[in-house]
């Protein structure tokens, strides 16, 4: 073994060992767990453990709440991703404009929510969304809109949480887009302007191809993020009202750590993993076709 080889293993060995122990091994075990009926009885005594094959998955498919959670999660992702990406891209474009002053200040202000604790900010937003006393309804009342029971009505609970999540994650994507926008070739932009391309045309044909890879990466990350929503409904609505904000991960947490159906919960985790994997594969395919990768 060369000196470099020894040093290489010495430097990377410890973290690789930890990754193997707390991540790789459990992930493999999760697959095993998902085909057993590991529950509170097995927790007490291993002898109670039985192999159930695909039984957990079968049972999930006939559980209405699981479908509900799946639907809610999809709704979160399909509404949330365009909302989060769209607003942050729009603001990044605004901030990129040469006429905007105090850029660093704006950046810091808009980024600040991202570093705060989800739990603490969810508490604050729960208060803002309060039907009778919340500031949001008060602002709406000034516009003549009747009070909305944001978190108490199954129709508005998801939009309300989405507004909160968008506010929260917005800054991160904005910074990523700002970085990408600074790499857009200026002479190309100038040439397009001289050729009389409209604002939209310049965005479509100059900016978009240049930031394509970043846009794709941000979308992949956001989809994964929205599919993993948990803390927001946990703090703001406890999955309600009428289970309208029970997400897949919320369902997994309840199933696993409230009812101790760990086998069942592992099956849920696996379905979540497959969903994220599938979406990622589809997105990379699209990216390849657009020659963004």
């Amino acid at each position: 073994m060369t000196r470099q080889e020894r040093a290489g293993w010495l430097f990377s060995g410890p973290v690789l060992a930890i990754i193997a122990f707390v991540f790789v091994l459990p992930t493999i075990l999760a697959l095993g767990l998902s085909v057993t009926d590991y529950s509170i009885y097995a927790l007490a005594d291993w002898a109670n453990l039985r192999f159930v094959g695909l039984g957990n998955f079968n049972e999930l498919l006939s559980t209405p709440l699981f479908w509900r959670a799946l639907g809610n999660t999809m709704l979160f992702a399909t509404l949330g991703v365009p909302m989060a990406i769209g607003t942050s891209l729009f603001v990044a474009l605004l901030l990129n404009d040469a006429t905007v002053r105090w850029k660093p200040l704006w950046r810091v202000l808009l980024f600040a929510p991202y570093v705060t604790s989800i739990v603490a900010t969810a508490v604050v937003w729960r208060f803002l969304f309060n039907e009778r006393f919340g500031l949001i309804n008060r602002a709406l009342a000034a516009l003549g809109v009747a009070p909305v029971d944001w978190l108490g009505d199954p129709h508005t609970s998801i939009p309300a949480i989405l507004i909160f999540v968008t506010w929260k994650v917005f800054g991160y994507n904005m910074i990523v887009f700002t970085a990408a926008l600074s790499a857009v070739p200026g002479d190309l932009m100038e040439a397009a302007r001289l050729d009389g391309a409209s604002r939209w045309g310049r965005f479509r044909h100059v900016t978009l191809p240049a930031i394509g890879p970043t846009l794709l990466l941000a979308t992949v990350m956001s989809v994964a993020g929205f599919l993993q929503i948990f803390a927001e409904p946990y703090v703001m609505t406890l999955g309600g009202p009428a289970q309208s904000t029970t997400t897949v991960l919320y369902f997994m947490f309840d199933e696993g750590f409230k009812w101790w159906n760990l086998g069942q919960a592992s099956a849920v985790a696996f379905i979540l993993f497959l969903m994220i994997l599938a979406v990622t594969i589809v997105q990379t395919r699209i990216g390849r076709r657009q020659e963004w990768l």
């Binding site: 060369t2 470099q4 020894r6 040093a7 290489g8 293993w9 430097f11 990377s12 973290v15 930890i18 990754i19 707390v22 991540f23 790789v24 091994l25 459990p26 992930t27 999760a30 767990l33 590991y38 927790l43 810091v108 980024f111 600040a112 570093v115 705060t116 604790s117 989800i118 739990v119 603490a120 508490v123 729960r126 208060f127 009778r132 006393f133 008060r138 991160y172 910074i175 700002t178 970085a179 990408a180 600074s182 790499a183 970043t214 990466l217 994964a224 993993q228 803390a231 946990y234 703090v235 406890l238 991960l249 997994m252 947490f253 760990l262 592992s266 985790a269 979540l272 993993f273 994220i276």
Partner: protein, 255 residues
């Protein structure tokens, strides 16, 4: 949030909702941070212990995390050893797997090992910094090989090369990473919620969520809790934001 946290108890739930406290009151903070009288007995929310817990846990996982991931990132960038490329591909591929898949079995493993309800069990998973290793590797690639080779020819050991040549160049990256790790640990919610059962061990987000479940109606009290949770990290971020944002800006271009 700050304004409401200083309102006397119950004022935020009067109509029309006040935008300014009728009198500035510290009672929410007193109650939250010190103690509260319920039915003649004194009751403690344990926010101060939770705050200290969070600080300690975040500090330890940041320091250990850096010690583990920075040398590894360097090794993956500059040291040639067998299996390096394959390991690197594995690390990148594993980024797709959501952490929650590992959580349930990990809980069972930790239970067997007696790590549930302990800080070791809380911190250990946060040290598996796949993203951090890749982040450091990316930054280290920019350091010219000639510099490292020159030091080797002068007879420096591999350890010396890393500590005296590479590490000083990585300082901005390490600061950025430290901030990432600290904030990540401070804000983490799901795993502490799972692994900690004992109230005395609660970290701040778990403690606040617990109060939120029981005291949903006490707007002012909850705002005070939110202030206590948010302000420290916000201050940390504001002082170090130059590193953080440039680190993020630089990293994403290469990404």
């Amino acid at each position: 949030m700050v304004i409401v946290s200083f309102m006397p108890r119950g004022e935020s739930t009067t109509l029309p909702t006040p935008l300014w406290p009728s009198r500035w009151s510290g009672e929410n903070y007193y109650e939250l941070l010190v103690r509260r009288q319920v039915d003649g007995g004194w009751f403690d929310y344990r926010i101060v212990p939770a705050l200290l817990n969070s600080l300690g846990v975040a500090a330890i996982s940041t320091v250990l995390g850096l010690l583990l991931t920075v040398p590894a990132g360097y090794a993956f960038a500059k040291l040639r050893f067998r299996g390096r490329e394959r390991l690197l591909q594995l690390l990148i591929a594993s980024l797709v797997v959501p952490g929650q898949v590992a959580m349930l079995p990990l809980f069972l493993i930790f239970k067997e090992l007696g790590l549930v309800n302990s800080y070791a069990g809380l911190i250990l998973p946060s040290l598996a910094g796949i993203f951090a290793v890749l982040f450091v590797r990316q930054a280290t690639l920019a350091i010219p090989d000639e510099m490292i080779d020159a030091a080797r020819i002068d007879g420096a050991s591999e350890g010396r090369v890393f500590v005296h040549i590479v590490l000083p160049l990585l300082v901005p990256i390490v600061v950025t990473l430290a901030l990432f790790m600290f904030l990540g640990s401070w804000n983490d919610f799901l795993w502490p919620l799972i692994v900690l059962a004992d109230q005395h061990l609660y970290t701040l987000p778990v403690a606040v969520a617990a109060i939120a479940r029981e005291h949903a109606a006490d707007g002012e009290l909850m705002m005070a809790a939110a202030v206590v949770t948010t302000i420290p990290v916000l201050l940390l971020f504001l002082t170090l934001q130059r590193y953080y944002l440039t680190g993020l800006l630089g990293g994403s271009i290469k990404g």
